[in-house]
């Protein structure tokens, strides 16, 4: 039973990771009733995926009979192949972090514009009213929201081929089999 489950997980690694990283993490934070942490949990999901996959690669590489050693076994440059795989993982982590910074900046802008719509519509004493305040705040809110979604989506676009490939390597060369 355990082997069957392990094999199933190994063959559907991407789907399992996606399920563990977002809904489960969100559910745990939600149970703890921590509203701000909910946002942080969701915002950091692509980076989490990236580091979980990098951890899988590192964990597998230190094992001499691991999936990556088997995958690159026929190559005369096995050390170089493994070095490049880990380096690529680090480069992708770097790219995702840059995109996460972009997304975070616009996430904060979106929240601030949302709050301004509720609190800064009327001018404070001694200040001049902003012309078309509601329209302008809403324009800024939607701009920040869509730039945030773009940054968030691009992180997932960047990570998808990477985890697809890693999952394929582990799935092809994994040690768990259905027959045992």
């Amino acid at each position: 039973m355990i082997e069957w489950l392990a094999g199933l997980l190994q063959r559907n690694l991407v789907v399992c990771l996606a399920f563990v990283v977002i809904p489960m993490k969100w559910l745990i934070v939600r149970v703890c009733r921590d509203k701000e942490a909910e946002a942080v949990a969701i915002l950091s999901a692509p980076e989490d995926l990236c580091y979980v996959v990098l951890g899988l690669v590192m964990g597998d590489v230190i094992n001499g009979s691991g999936a990556f050693h088997r995958e690159f076994g026929k190559s005369p440059y096995i050390s170089m192949e493994i070095f490049l795989t880990v380096s690529l993982g680090l480069a992708i982590a770097l790219g995702i972090h840059v995109l996460a910074q972009f997304a975070d900046k616009h996430w904060k802008g979106w929240r601030a514009a949302e709050r301004s719509l509720a609190t800064d519509m009327k001018p404070k004493p001694g200040e001049v009213a902003i012309p078309n305040a509601e329209d302008n705040f809403r324009t800024l809110q939607y701009r920040h929201m869509f730039l945030f979604l773009l940054g968030y989506g691009l992180q997932l676009v960047l990570i998808f081929p990477w985890i697809h490939w890693i999952a394929n390597v582990i799935g092809r060369n994994g040690r768990v089999s259905f027959t045992s």
Partner: protein
């Protein structure tokens, strides 16, 4: 088939994340915003294709004038962001960039009009 399943799982992460964030932190128009957010990948693709065609045929999009008060609103939002999240004050460039782009569009159109005017005067 497996690739499609994996793609859907990652798209599911996007759908779930965007829906939770919008529903938890937005007060109005939640459902339409969530739907537009889910369609964002298609919108971005469409914008990329349209942008490529516009560049190929050198047809630049018409820029509308920058709304009055946008620059002030941007400053207020930036101050609000600093109050809420702290950190350094970031330069506000959206409204000024918009106004600059509109100015460039006007200049281009004025040059076109000048060309036509010169031709009309020359042939008159």
């Amino acid at each position: 088939m497996k690739l499609v399943g994996e793609f859907l799982a990652i798209y599911g992460v996007y759908m779930f994340g965007s829906a939770v964030l919008i529903c938890r932190y937005t007060r109005v128009d939640r459902i339409p915003t969530v739907i537009v957010a889910w369609l964002m990948p298609a919108l971005v693709l469409e914008a990329l294709i349209e942008g490529t065609f516009l560049l190929l045929f050198k047809k630049y999009p018409r820029v509308r004038p920058c709304p009055v008060g946008l620059a002030e609103a941007e400053v207020v939002v930036e101050q609000r962001r600093q109050k809420m999240f702290g950190g350094e004050s970031l330069p506000t460039t959206f409204a000024s960039e918009w106004a600059r782009l509109y100015g460039v569009t006007l200049e281009k159109e004025a040059k076109k009009v000048q060309k036509v005017a010169r031709w009309v005067l020359a042939t008159a």
